[in-house]
C-alpha cells in the first residue's frame, strides 16, 4: 500500500487534490491546520492507483508519495551541485596588462576611437540600434567584432539593446552599447535594472540637439542632467565626459575599467561634434584593464560591511545566481516587503560610489591659480574655451578653466575650493543651462550661465567677446552658501534587532490553486527527464505573476524588466551558446508591452524554450484587461465585457516563422510535461502557450468557481484537433459558445492529446489555418461545405 503525506505548512487549501484525483483518495478533515483552514487528508489509500496526478496538480509541491516530494528532489540536487561548484571554482579577476589591437598613431574620428578603446579594454558584446550620430560605432563594431571573437547584434530597439547587455554582462562578457538622445531616454528603465543588480556595462551616449528629434545632425550637451538622473529610484553611477579624440580613446578604456571595478553601469558622454571629428589619436602598445572580481561562494550583492564591491559570478558557474529587479538581499532572494533590506541595498549602491568620490575625481585645472573668472566646462566646448582663454590672457583678463573629465560623481569639493578664489564662475554649454545648476549647488561665487542651445559648437570668439565686453554686467553680490551634511541612514538601523536573513526555499508566493505551481512541477520533471545539467539552465522572466516563477526555481535565473525577457535571454544565449535558456513570461509581459520584443525574439530563432503563460488578464496589478482577454469577458477595466477579440498567440508565433509551437492546458500537466521535454530537444526556438486562467481576479469576475471547477471547464471548453475534424462547423460553433469564457470566437487548436505541434517553417501553416472555423476558410481548405 502506498504512503501519502501532505506537508501542511506548504498546503494553501486549493482543493485540487480532492477534486482532480480520479479515485477520490483525498478528503477534507475537521482538523484546523497552521494556515487556518481545515486540512486535507488522504483517506482511501486502497483506492490509490499510484498515478501521481495529485503530485503534478499540487501547485505547492506539498504532496509526498512514499515519502518523496515531486520538487524536493530537484532542490536537493541543486544544492548539492552548488556546493560542488563552490569547492571546484577558482576566484578570478583583477588588474592585468594586455596588448592593444591598433598601436601607434591614427587619424580617426571620435566614434572610431571609442570603438577601438572598447575593443582594447576587452569588450566582447555590442548591441545597438541605428541612430544618428552613433551609427559609425555600429559599423566599426560589426567590422571588428568577428575578428576578435566578440558578438555584434542589432536589436529591435534601444531598450532591448540594454536588456541584451544585462544578459551578456551576467554571462561574463564586457559589453557596450552606443546611442543618442532619444535612444538614451528609452534606455532608462533597463538602466535602472542594471543599477539595482550592479551590472557592469558601458553606455555611450553621442549627444545631439534635442528636445525630441530636434536637429538630429546637430551637436549638443543636453543630457548632462539626464545622464545622472535618468534611472528611476535614483542611485549613483559614473559618467565620463571626454573632450578630444585622444581623451575619447582613454576614457573608453577607463569607462570599462571603472564599470568592472565598481560593478556599475558607466555612461560615456560624447557629442556629435567630437564623435565626427577626425584627429590624431596615439594608442599605446599596452594598457591596463580590470576584470570583475569573483570569489566562489561569496554573497553576490554587496551588503557586506567591509567590502565596497561584492563578488560577481556568472551564469553557468553553478552558484544558482538569482537576479531580480525586485529588492533582493545579498544572495539575490527577492524580499520586496522588507524595508530594511531595501535601505541597505540602495545605501550600499550609493555608498560604493560616493565613498570613492576622491578616487573618481578627474579634472584638469588650466591657469586657475590666479584666475578671477573661473570657467567650468566639459566636452568639446572646453577646446573652444581654451582658445578663448589663451587670447584673453594676452589681453590681461585673468581667466582660468576647470575641466571636468568625470562628470559624476561631481567634484563638489574642488569646485568649492577654486570658486572661493574666483570672483565669478562662468558655465558655457551647448544647451539651455544644465551644468550651470549643478555648479551653482557647490560654488561659493556667483555663477553665470552662457548657454547656446542651437545645435552648433560654441564659437571661441563668442566666449572671448563675452569675457571682454559683457561679463561685468553679470557681476552680483556673492551670497553666503551652506552645504548640507548627509545623515547616515544606516546608523539607526544598527539599533534595530538583527533579523533572520531570507533564504531561498521552494515556497511560492502564488495564490491557492494557481497554475504556475503546476507549471513548475511539470518544468522540473521535464528537465529531470530530459537530463539537462542544472548548471546550464538559465530561467528568464519579465514582470508579472508569471515572472516571479524563476525566483522559485533551483537554478540560475533573472527577473528582468517589463517586456524584456527575450532580449535578455538573447544576450545570455549569445555569450554562452551552451546554456539552456528558458523564458517564462506572461501574456501581458510578452504580448502587450513586450509584443515587439517577443516577435523579434521568435524571429531570431535562437535555441531556447519560450513559455507564455496565458492567464487572460494582468494578475499582479489587479486583473486589468490583457491582449488575451476573450471577447465579452469581464475584467477590472472592462466591467461590461471586453470589446475586442483576443490575440491568437500561436498564430502570432507562426507568423513570425517559429519552428515549434504548442498550446497546452494547465489542467493536463502530464501532457504539458511531455511538450516541455520535447521543446527542450528542439534545434530552434520553441514557443509554448500555456492556458492557465487567473483564479483570483479573472476567475472571480467571470464566475469560474473553485480551482478544480475552473480546470474542469478548461478541459471542456477546448477541443482537440482530431475531435474538431469530426464535428461540423455548426456543431463546433455551439461547442465553443457554451465553453464560455475560454471560448474565443475562433476555434482553439489543440490536437488529439490537447497539443498542437508544428514542425518546419511553412509546411504546416495551411493545415493550421484550416481549423479556424471562419466560414470562408473552412470552405476553402476542407472542401466539405461548399
Amino acid at each position: 500500500m502506498i504512503e501519502i503525506n501532505i506537508n501542511q505548512e506548504r498546503c494553501k487549501g486549493c482543493d485540487l487534490c480532492l477534486n482532480l484525483c480520479p479515485k477520490k483518495v483525498f478528503e477534507e478533515s475537521d482538523e484546523i491546520g497552521k494556515q487556518g483552514f481545515k486540512i486535507r487528508k488522504p483517506i482511501n489509500f486502497e483506492e490509490c492507483s499510484k498515478c501521481g496526478l495529485c503530485q503534478y496538480f499540487c501547485p505547492e509541491g506539498a504532496i509526498a508519495l512514499d515519502g518523496k516530494f515531486l520538487i524536493s528532489d530537484s532542490w536537493e540536487k541543486a544544492q548539492k551541485l552548488k556546493e560542488i561548484a563552490i569547492n571546484q571554482n577558482v576566484s578570478r579577476g583583477g588588474w592585468k596588462t594586455i596588448k592593444t589591437y591598433f598601436p601607434g598613431n591614427h587619424f580617426v574620428s571620435g566614434n572610431i576611437a571609442c570603438v577601438w578603446g572598447a575593443i582594447d579594454a576587452g569588450c566582447k558584446m555590442f548591441a545597438g540600434y541605428p541612430i544618428t550620430p552613433a551609427n559609425e560605432q555600429s559599423f566599426e563594431m560589426e567590422r571588428l567584432m568577428p575578428k576578435i571573437g566578440g558578438i555584434f547584434i542589432q536589436m529591435e530597439n534601444e531598450d532591448s539593446s540594454l536588456a541584451v547587455l544585462c544578459g551578456a554582462s551576467l554571462s561574463g562578457a564586457k559589453s557596450m552599447t552606443a546611442t543618442s538622445g532619444p535612444g538614451f531616454s528609452r534606455m532608462s528603465e533597463n538602466l535602472s535594472f542594471a543599477l539595482i543588480n550592479e551590472l557592469p556595462m558601458v553606455i555611450v551616449n553621442v549627444q545631439r540637439t534635442g528636445p525630441s528629434t530636434g536637429r538630429p545632425t546637430g551637436t549638443g550637451s543636453g543630457e548632462i542632467r539626464e545622464a545622472r538622473w535618468s534611472s528611476h529610484g535614483g542611485t549613483e553611477h559614473i559618467v565620463l565626459y571626454p573632450s578630444t579624440i585622444q581623451e575619447i580613446y582613454n576614457s573608453t578604456v577607463k569607462a570599462f575599467n571603472l564599470s568592472e571595478e565598481f560593478r556599475v553601469p558607466v555612461i560615456l558622454m560624447l557629442e556629435a561634434s567630437n564623435a565626427h571629428l577626425q584627429e590624431n589619436v596615439e594608442i599605446p602598445e599596452e594598457i591596463n584593464v580590470f576584470d570583475r572580481i569573483y570569489f566562489p561562494g561569496d554573497p553576490v550583492f554587496g551588503f557586506e560591511k567591509n567590502s565596497i564591491v561584492s563578488s560577481m559570478p556568472k551564469y553557468g558557474d553553478g552558484e544558482i545566481l538569482k537576479v531580480s529587479g525586485l529588492t533582493h538581499n545579498r544572495w539575490g532572494v527577492p524580499c520586496p516587503d522588507d524595508a530594511q533590506v531595501h535601505e541597505e541595498m540602495v545605501e550600499h549602491q550609493r555608498r560604493k560610489i560616493i565613498c570613492s568620490a576622491d578616487y573618481l575625481t578627474d579634472i584638469d585645472e588650466y591657469l586657475l591659480e590666479d584666475a578671477e573668472i573661473m570657467i567650468v566646462a566639459c566636452g568639446h566646448t572646453t577646446r573652444s574655451i581654451k582658445w578663448a582663454i589663451d587670447r584673453a590672457r594676452e589681453k590681461g583678463i585673468k581667466v582660468g578653466m576647470f575641466k571636468l573629465n568625470i562628470l559624476y560623481p561631481f567634484p563638489e569639493k574642488k569646485i568649492e575650493k577654486w570658486s572661493k578664489q574666483a570672483k565669478c564662475v562662468l558655465v558655457p554649454e551647448m544647451n539651455q543651462g544644465q551644468l550651470f545648476y549643478i555648479v551653482r549647488e557647490s560654488s561659493c561665487s556667483p555663477v553665470i550661465s552662457l548657454p547656446q542651445p542651437d545645435g552648433e559648437n560654441i564659437d571661441p570668439r563668442r566666449i572671448l567677446k563675452f569675457l571682454e565686453r559683457d561679463l561685468t554686467k553679470y557681476y552680483r553680490q556673492s551670497l553666503p552658501m551652506c552645504f548640507p551634511t548627509f545623515y547616515n541612514p544606516l546608523e539607526w538601523q544598527k539599533e534595530k534587532e538583527e533579523k533572520e536573513e531570507k533564504v531561498f526555499t521552494p515556497d511560492t508566493i502564488f495564490c491557492p490553486g494557481c497554475g504556475l505551481g503546476i507549471l513548475r512541477n511539470c518544468l522540473l520533471e521535464a528537465i529531470d527527464e530530459a537530463n539537462i545539467d542544472f548548471k546550464k539552465i538559465v530561467a528568464v522572466s519579465g514582470i508579472g505573476c508569471t515572472s516571479r516563477l524563476p525566483n522559485h526555481l533551483p537554478f540560475d535565473s533573472a527577473n528582468t524588466t517589463h517586456g524584456y525577457p527575450m532580449p535578455f535571454a538573447t544576450g545570455v544565449k549569445l555569450v554562452n551558446p551552451d546554456s539552456q535558456v528558458i523564458v517564462i513570461s506572461g501574456d501581458g509581459d510578452s504580448f502587450s508591452i513586450g509584443a515587439g520584443q517577443m516577435l523579434h525574439g521568435i524571429k531570431r530563432d535562437m535555441p531556447m524554450v519560450v513559455i507564455c503563460v496565458n492567464n487572460s488578464n494582468f494578475g499582479m496589478t489587479g486583473g486589468q484587461v490583457a491582449p488575451t482577454t476573450p471577447l465579452g469577458a469581464k475584467t477590472s477595466t472592462t466591467p461590461f465585457g471586453s470589446r475586442s477579440k483576443p490575440f491568437d498567440l500561436i498564430g502570432l508565433a507562426l507568423a513570425s516563422n517559429v519552428k515549434f509551437a504548442a498550446r497546452c492546458l494547465i489542467s493536463k500537466p502530464v501532457m504539458l510535461k511531455k511538450v516541455l521535454k520535447q521543446a527542450m530537444n528542439t534545434d530552434g526556438l520553441a514557443f509554448i502557450e500555456v492556458i492557465s486562467p487567473c483564479l483570483t481576479y479573472y476567475g472571480k469576475r467571470n464566475k469560474l468557481g473553485t480551482p478544480s471547477q475552473t480546470y474542469d471547464r478548461l478541459d471542456q471548453s477546448y477541443i482537440s484537433k482530431t475531435k474538431a475534424k469530426k464535428l461540423s462547423y455548426e456543431e463546433m460553433k455551439e461547442k465553443f459558445e457554451t465553453g464560455f469564457p475560454f471560448r474565443k470566437n475562433d476555434v482553439e487548436i489543440v490536437d488529439q492529446e490537447l497539443l498542437h505541434l508544428i514542425y518546419g517553417k511553412f509546411s504546416s501553416l495551411p493545415e493550421y489555418m484550416s481549423f479556424v472555423p471562419n466560414k470562408q476558410k473552412k470552405q476553402n481548405f476542407s472542401g466539405e461545405e461548399k
Binding site: 544618428t132 545632425t217 577626425q278 584627429e279
Partner: protein, 176 residues
Amino acid sequence: MRKEMIGTGFGGQGIQLMIKIFASSLYNKGYLATFKSDYGPAVRGGKSSAYIVIKEFADDWPEIMEADVLIALSQQGFDFWIKEIKQDAIVFYDPATVKLGQKDGRKYYAVFASEIANDLEDKRAVNMAMLGGVVKITKMIVLDDIIEALKQTRKFSETNQKALEQGYDRVERKTN
C-alpha cells in the same frame, strides 16, 4: 600657422572623399590636421561641405572659424561660403559649374575639373581633378602623397590618377 579649408559642392560630387583624402595626406605628412564633414540629409543631394583645420598646436580649436581656402564645385555652396571666409582667402572653383560674383580681394583659381572629367569619360573624376589643382597651388604636399592616401582607401583607380595629374596641370589664376 593655423589654416582652415572648406570644400563644398553637390552631394554626390565626391566632396567628402576629396577633402578626406586631402586631410589624411596632410596628416601623413605631419601636419596637425583635423577633418570633419557635414553629416545629414545634405550629403545625399543639395549642399554638402567638408572641412579641414590645420592646427597651430595640438590643443587648438579644431573647428572652422574663418576659412583660408575655399574649394567650390557648386554655385549653391560657393554662394553660401563666400560670405563666411577671410578677405584674403584663396578660392578654387570649377568654371563649368560656378560663376564668380563681384570683384573682391580674394585670389581665384579656376580648375577645369568638369572638362577633365568629360575627357576621361568618367564624371566621378571631378573631385580628383579639383584636388590636383588645389595641391599645385597650396604647395603643402605633393601629388604622390595624395595617390598614396588614395591607395589606402581602396578608391584608387587609373582614372583618378589621370584626373589628379591633369588637374594639377590645368589651373589658371582668374580675376572677376
